[in-house]
Assembly symmetry: C2
Homo-oligomer: 210 residues x 2
DNA sequence: TGTTGTGAAGTATTTCACAGCC
DNA sequence: GGCTGTGAAATACTTCACAACA
C-alpha cells in the first residue's frame, strides 16, 4: 500500500479493468499472465501494479475475477458516481456529452456552459446550456466535482482557475495549453494534435531508419 | 542523433513547438530556460530532448526561434502534409473532422467511412461518407497514410488490420481496445474513459492521504 | 558573461527470479 | 504443480554540474 504510484501504473489498471469487463464468466479466475496478454504488458508488471494496493490474488490460482474487478473499481475511484460539468458546447463538447461510456461509468454531466450567446439557453439532452456568469454559483449548488474543459486555449486558464476556486476536485483538459493550477487539483490533458504529431514522428523516424 | 527516443520526449517536443507558435517575435531567440518555463519541465530536460536530434543552439545565446521551429516541425514530421482517412462518422468523428487544428497542421482528411447505411452518402464539408466496402480501394487510390479510428471497440481490430493491409502507415485509435498490429505500423491510443479514471484515481488517492 | 551540450550521478520504472503458499 | 508477491538486478529516464564556446 505504498504512496507514490506511477502514472503508467494507473493507465494499466484502467486497462486491466477494461479487460475484465469483457470477461463474461464472472465467478472465474484470471492469472497475471492472461491479464498481461490482454493489456500489452508482462505478467510481472501486472503483479507489481496490483501489489501496490495490497495482495488480493491466490498463489497457485490467480485472481478472482469478481473481486479483482471490484478492487480495481475502488482503486480507480469509480465505485461511486461523479458530478461533472462540461465547459464548452462545441463539437468536442457534444461528442463528450453524448459519449455513453462516461455515463455508464458513473460520470454524470450535471451542467453545460458556453460563452456563445447563440448557444446559451439551448437544450442538449436533459441539460440547458448555461452562461459562464452562472458558473461559480452552479458549481457550488450542484456540487460539481469534475470539470471537462472543451474550449479553445485562450479561455482555458481562466476557466480552470475559476473552477479551482469554486471547489472543483479535478480537471480534464482538452485545450492545447498547460494549465497552471495548484497541485492539490489534478489535471489530465488530452491533446489531439499532440497525438497525431506523435504518430507522424514515429512514421518519419522509421522511414529514416530504413 | 541517437535512435531510441522516449515517448515522453516526443510529447515534450510537441509542447516546445506549441510554445514557439505562440511566439510573435520571430527572428528572436529562446533559451532552454524560457522553453522549460512554458513546458512544465526543466532547462536541462529541454536541452537533453533537443540534443537527441543534433545540436542546434548557440552557447551563450540560446536557440534561434525560427530555426528551432523548423527543426521541431521536421523532427515531428509535420513539415509536410499527411493524407488522413476517418473511420467512423459518429460524434467523435465529426468533432475530429471539423477540428481546425488538424487541417492547419497539415493533416488533411481525404475520406470518411461509416458502416451505418443511414450515413453512407451523406455529405460532410467536402466529403461524402463512404461504405466500408470501398475502404481498401479508396485507401490505395487516395494514397491514405493515416487512419483515425473513431468507432466502437467491436469493429476496431478488424478495421485496423484492413488499414494495415491496405498500406496505411499509422493509426490514431479512439476505440477503447489495444489494437494488435505489426510493429512497423505505429498506433497512438486516445482513451477518454481512461483519462477520467486517472483523474478520479488521483482525487481518491489524495482524499485517502488526507 | 551566458547558455549550450553532455557525461556522470541520481531516480524511477520494469524485469528477473524465486521463496512462499494454495 | 502452478501462480502470486516481492526483494534484487537491470534498464530507462531525469537531473546535475561543468567544460566548451559564442
Amino acid at each position: 500500500m505504498s504512496r507514490k504510484i506511477p502514472e503508467s501504473t494507473v493507465r494499466r489498471l484502467s486497462h486491466y479493468l477494461r479487460s475484465l469487463e469483457g470477461f463474461p464468466e464472472s465467478g472465474g479466475t484470471v492469472s497475471s499472465e492472461e491479464l498481461a496478454a490482454r493489456g500489452q504488458t508482462t505478467a510481472a508488471q501486472v503483479r507489481k501494479d496490483l501489489s501496490h494496493f495490497g495482495s488480493f490474488g491466490k498463489r497457485g490460482l490467480g485472481y478472482q475475477v469478481d473481486e479483482l474487478r471490484d478492487r480495481l473499481r475502488s482503486i480507480l475511484g469509480i465505485n461511486r458516481s461523479w458530478t461533472v460539468a462540461l465547459v464548452g458546447a462545441g463539437r468536442i463538447g457534444l461528442a463528450l456529452f453524448e459519449y455513453p461510456a462516461f455515463r455508464s461509468r458513473g460520470y454524470n454531466c450535471v451542467a453545460i456552459f458556453d460563452s456563445d450567446p447563440e448557444k446559451i439557453g439551448r437544450v442538449w439532452g436533459d441539460q440547458v446550456i448555461r452562461s459562464p456568469e452562472e458558473f461559480e454559483k452552479t458549481i457550488v449548488e450542484l456540487d460539481v466535482e469534475l470539470v471537462i474543459l472543451a474550449i479553445p486555449a485562450e479561455g482555458a486558464q481562466d476557466m480552470a482557475m475559476r473552477a479551482v476556486d469554486a471547489g472543483v476536485k479535478g480537471i480534464l483538459n482538452f485545450a492545447p495549453i498547460r494549465l497552471n493550477v495548484p497541485p492539490r487539483v489534478p489535471v489530465e490533458d488530452v491533446n489531439l494534435v499532440m497525438e497525431l504529431e506523435a504518430l507522424s514522428f514515429q512514421i518519419t523516424q522509421r522511414e529514416q531508419d530504413a
